[in-house]
Amino acid sequence: VIDRLLALFERVHFSPSWASLARIAAWFVIGVLAIDLLAPDKRPDLTADRYNAAAPDPWVRSITAPRGDPRGFTPTTNDDVFKIAWVGGSELQSIGNGVYTFLPIEVRKQIPQVDGRPVSIDMYFVSGMRLADEYAAVLAAIDNDVDAIVISLNPVWALNDLAVHGWDNLDPAVARDLLTRPGAWPVAASLLGPGDLLWGVASAADVIDDRYQWGVRIHDNVSELSLIDDPAPEPSGADPEPLSELDQIRAMTIPVEFWGRYAPTVDPTEPLAVRQAALFERSAQSSPINDAILDLIGDAVSATDIPTIVYTAAVNDEVLADPAIATHVEDIERRLGEHAAAFDADNVRFDPTTIGRRAPGMVFNDVLHVGELGPLAEVMAGDLCDLFVDSGLTPECEPP
């Protein structure tokens, strides 16, 4: 192809040289910048987010873009507010008795102001958040220059090597951030690719950064266009053939779906209680990649002066009362505690013990997901107020 191109160029008296390559690169940069200037900037609509629609609050909102959107997080303004970044997964939700809320919403009711500024909470809420996603969110929060950070560690997944990484749309921003963090390069080499770095750097241009939103718009406009006449098949009335095992695996979208079924620790036909015990047991075992990422999270927050709380999310009291599982939870807490050195800084509070032990009376929908927060919001608000006072701030703490 190159020979043919060169022959074609020769025919029009164009002899490429290194100088012409440099000029082409310059035109390329000019072209991208020109398109960047001409195309209007896009911004995700946070009010359209389904979690914000379900639990609207003027001071607390999820800022996570849809899965697939490489912008990842869309922080709100820090002007004239005390901004808290709250990082966590589905354990932040409380769903029960017709009430849908988030732990940060209930905590914010008890800390309306800090230093005379209204508290505003950006939730880096990632459904199905795994530890690498959590690291991405922490890096984003630090980049966004927030006033305080709260990090929820999910005891089921924080140390579980069956699913380390769920939201790969966050990878380009992580790759760019890690350029200046050489200590994270071994983990970056394990989870990221060169393409992530390229996209991450190119995202400096809004026209590249907004590509998901442009893509969805193009999709809406062209999805009905087709040159192929492909009518929908007539319904035959017969039951569709069940998918083969291989097709079922092909339909899986994230690794945990595979490992949930083929986890080497437990037979998938075992009762739920046995599989749950196995899940906790798996989390209590050694996992070097999880250990490395957890230390990186600690290093990242310890290197800042941002007041930070890192807590371990609550698990169901029934789990703690079951000796067969409780021992695994204690092992998880012990293993989390082994990372205390990474979080050892004046601005960081790290608690490897599940916070549910200090908030008895919570209601759960399963081992981890909350039905009623009970006293949890009060416990968290108390911890945050203590941290702010110790950090020289003046919080307005209102008990419920």
Partner: protein, 42 residues
């Protein structure tokens, strides 16, 4: 090289550079999210 040939060479370089920029933007817009013609390998 004649001036005419040199100007033509510059024009070809500009077309290639700007064309690549347009191509990269199109690939970016169509390689993310729920787009039907996905070029994730690129």
């Amino acid at each position: 090289m004649k001036l005419r040939h040199r100007l033509r060479a510059y024009a070809i370089e500009a077309v290639i550079g700007l064309g690549l920029a347009a191509l990269v933007v199109v690939v970016a817009w169509t390689s993310s999210g729920e787009v039907p013609f996905v070029y994730r390998g690129l």
